[in-house]
């Protein structure tokens, strides 16, 4: 039975017999995120019509290709001017800033990047790169890893830097002293675990990483892993100090316990060593739960 050739062909919502379809399956993949009670018209149309789905897949693909295009390697520039200039050009093109040795910070201006300056900078190593907010991904990191004398790297709020990228940073282990990963949405504690190669690191900023499950515990483990490095990140003691003051808005369900538990709470931070204090803060949202547990 051939389907009628119309421009909008009906798609049966049941893909196959036996299970509840794609929606049911995606719940298994991401149980928290699929509370789609109010599905938009676009999603409804995508379910029903092949053509709408194809257009949306094309747009998705185009976005991915855009990021890939931004991260291509500039082989011509590398052959002509050397790896330092190629890396600097890559960062400047993405919208970041570069500092060569004994020079000021450079950023791309409205006129673009003129090649005259680069001719003088062929042999000058790059010391610091500020790639905050740039769309650097695993492929694009090639350009940065060629900068062998890089001392400071800032990858704040980069949306495509993930755990795989951190696994490549060992190339810069000899020279890197300062690294900032604050605000990157895809970095988790699993990627941070492979920063142990960077033994020369003196400052590491891992604050505000939404994908890290236990910021306080991760900070403690990072400090143990990199003993010479100053790790700035989630202040694991912060939640404890604020605990009693934040009690009323946070735990409205337990007013009778508050009066009794508050005097006792103040003594807790001094009595216990650092590990368990961090865990108590992580375990409960308020002091009442922490003590009950």
């Amino acid at each position: 039975m051939a389907a009628p050739r119309a421009s909008l062909r009906l798609v049966a919502p049941v893909w196959h017999r036996g299970t509840s379809g794609i929606r049911g399956l995606s719940k298994a993949v991401d149980p928290e995120g699929s509370q789609r009670k109010g599905r938009t018209l676009l999603q409804f149309l995508t379910d029903r019509f092949y053509d709408v789905e194809a257009v949306r897949e094309y747009l998705l693909r185009k976005q991915v290709l855009k990021v890939q295009k931004k991260n291509r390697s500039f082989t011509y520039i590398e052959e002509r001017y050397g790896p330092y200039v190629a890396g600097a050009y890559f960062v400047l093109k993405q919208g970041g800033a570069v500092k060569f040795r004994d020079r000021e910070w450079m950023r791309a201006n409205e006129q673009g990047l003129s090649s005259l300056e680069f001719r003088k900078l062929q042999e000058v190593p790059v010391e610091a790169v500020d790639a905050s907010g740039c769309a650097i991904n695993y492929q694009g990191l090639d350009n940065l890893l060629a900068l062998k004398e890089l001392q400071s790297l800032s990858l704040r709020r980069c949306p495509h830097v993930d755990d795989w990228c951190l696994g490549r940073l060992y190339h810069l282990a000899d020279s890197l002293q300062e690294l900032s990963l604050a605000g990157c949405p895809r970095i988790s504690e699993r990627g941070l675990a492979c920063l142990h190669h960077l033994q020369n690191l003196r400052r590491l900023d891992i604050s505000d990483l939404p994908a890290v499950s236990n910021p306080g515990l991760t900070q403690i483990l990072m400090e143990e892993m990199l003993p010479h490095c100053e790790v700035l990140g989630a202040d694991w003691a912060q939640g404890l100090k604020m605990g009693p003051e934040e009690q009323s808005p946070d735990a409205p369900s337990a007013p009778p316990h508050q009066a009794g538990s508050r005097p006792g709470c103040a003594e807790r931070p001094t009595a216990h060593p650092s590990g368990s204090v961090g865990l108590t803060q992580l375990r409960g949202s308020g002091w009442a739960e922490g003590r009950r547990a």
């Binding site: 039975m1 049941v14 017999r17 941070l192």
Partner: protein, 486 residues
């Protein structure tokens, strides 16, 4: 449609009864009747299971171009690449038959989930490298519109293989092969090892190879569900049932040198439903055997190995299930965040699990101590006698530990040379194998799926040449032995 109505081989059918007659029913079940009528009317619409006589919505379709036996990561990977590499969208109908939708005994989900490039065969290194690239870009490969991106929970911590004096030369040779293929592996001396990982006891270690990139471990369940989701969106049909029979035809032919040879071709696959005698014969063009630990049984059903021993017809598929344990323990003073997956020369291995000083590990038993693969019960004495002493000797902090839990899973163990079998069978011409990977199937699944799909669509391997892994080697005796097996 008429033919179907006239077919006499029917299961329990309601043709004798009209709607609304119930045995001994004195109450008129209006709601039940109305919903039945509604269901019947709905089934007439295009895309539904129209069957005038009884409900077949739980059965697989009557015909399908490719039937993949086994819904684990290898089977789904073959299905994915078939749909991705087909010349025209919707050209190939694929049906995946999986006996157990809960995957309770499947090797994929019970695996430790590691991926490494440190193998001794260049083909294995290439397979792992491509699979790492697939996992890295998994949200481009398996993207489905409107669905959340996958988080594989990948730990890029690497593998650390330790070698004693005898194994040091072999390790150096292997690392050279791995580097040639593009893997990033570094060799370390015992002093460097002690400096980098102070919690290791380097006594008896002559050399260590440490994977720096693209190695680590991830969550296999997430990969499996991501593949299922993408396949559903690409139009692959899934069926829960067990393959009980193949209907095939044989043709006797003569080779150029005058030998008689019998070529077989599978025409139908009988898929039996759970807890019932009902089965559906599925007409198919190609069958893929990706049944993992039970591939040997499926191959026997197809007639592989039925013949006088010593001939190609009598060569069985040497894949059998082997039980392996994995133990989870807690050690408060154990190695920190930087710990890779450490593999001792004696065969014991462990890795960190999570942030709470928990570790996973085990050891492969020797041939004599192989446990009985009849069930998945865990033997804790094995940990006490074989695993713990070796681990405690290698990492002194593990002398105080507490086992929290354990599980067992199957390896689809290739008794011939512990490497996978891919490609068609020389005599059963439309059965393709994708099995026998003996513990490293999960990490090579994306690449193997692509290779098998290329073999099916083009007739030869295009990207990675897996000719050493074809079935013929069992008859000709050419072992493609893999030495680095964990």
């Amino acid at each position: 449609m008429l033919r179907r109505a006239l077919r006499l081989r029917l299961g329990p059918c309601l043709s004798g009864r009209g709607l609304g007659t119930y045995r001994g029913g004195s109450t008129l079940d209006w709601d039940g009747k109305v919903s039945k009528i509604k269901k019947k009317i709905q089934s007439i619409f295009p895309g539904r299971a129209w069957s005038p006589l009884y409900d077949t919505s739980h059965l697989p379709p009557e015909r399908s171009d490719v039937v993949i036996v086994g819904g684990g990561v290898l089977g789904l990977s073959v299905a994915y690449w078939l749909k991705r590499l087909e010349k025209q969208q919707g050209a190939i109908q694929v049906l995946v038959v999986e006996r157990d939708h809960t995957y309770a005994r499947a090797s994929t989900v019970l695996s430790v989930g590691g991926i490494r490039q440190q193998f001794s065969l260049p083909e294995n290194v290439q397979l792992s490298l491509f699979s790492a690239e697939f996992l890295r870009n998994i949200n481009e490969y398996l993207a489905v519109v409107d669905d959340p991106p996958l988080d594989l929970q990948f730990n890029p911590s690497g593998y650390l293989l330790l070698a004693s004096e005898e194994g040091a030369a072999i390790m150096e040779r292997n690392v050279k092969i791995q580097r040639q293929e593009g893997a990033k592996v570094c060799l370390m001396s015992p002093e460097q090892l002690q400096k980098k990982f102070p919690w290791i006891n380097t006594e008896g270690v002559a050399l260590a190879s440490y994977g720096l990139e693209n190695e680590g471990w991830f969550d296999p369940w997430c990969l499996l569900q991501g593949l299922r989701r993408k396949l559903q969106s690409m139009g692959v049909l899934f069926c829960q049932g067990e393959v009980t029979r193949f209907i095939s035809s044989s043709s006797h032919m003569e080779t150029a040198s005058g030998e008689q040879v019998t070529l077989k071709r599978i025409h139908e696959v009988h898929v039996k439903m759970d807890h019932s005698q009902e089965f559906q014969p599925v007409e198919c063009a190609i069958v893929v055997n990706a049944a993992g630990a039970w591939s040997g049984q499926i191959a026997e059903l197809a007639g592989v190995g039925t013949g006088p021993p010593g001939t190609m017809q009598g060569t069985k598929l040497p894949v059998e299930p082997r039980k392996r344990y994995v133990y989870l323990w807690h050690c408060p003073q154990g190695p920190g965040l930087e710990a890779p997956l450490v593999a001792d020369p004696s065969g014991a291995y462990f890795r960190r699990e999570g942030l709470g000083n928990n570790y996973l590990g085990s050891c492969s038993p020797t041939e004599e101590e192989e446990p009985d693969p009849g069930n998945l019960e865990v033997d804790y004495d094995f940990f006490q006698e074989k695993v713990w002493p070796r681990l405690a000797q290698r990492v002194p902090a593990f002398e105080t530990l507490k086992v929290r839990s354990a599980w067992a899973g199957y390896y689809d163990y290739n008794t011939f040379d512990q490497n996978g079998v891919v490609g068609p069978h020389p005599l059963v011409i439309n059965m393709y194998f994708a099995t026998g990977f003996s513990g490293h199937g999960l990490q090579q699944a994306p690449a193997v799926g692509r290779a098998v799909a290329e073999m099916m669509l083009e007739g030869h391997f295009q990207t990675i040449n897996l000719s050493p892994f074809l079935f013929g080697r069992f008859y000709f005796g050419e072992k493609a032995q893999e030495h680095c097996i964990l």
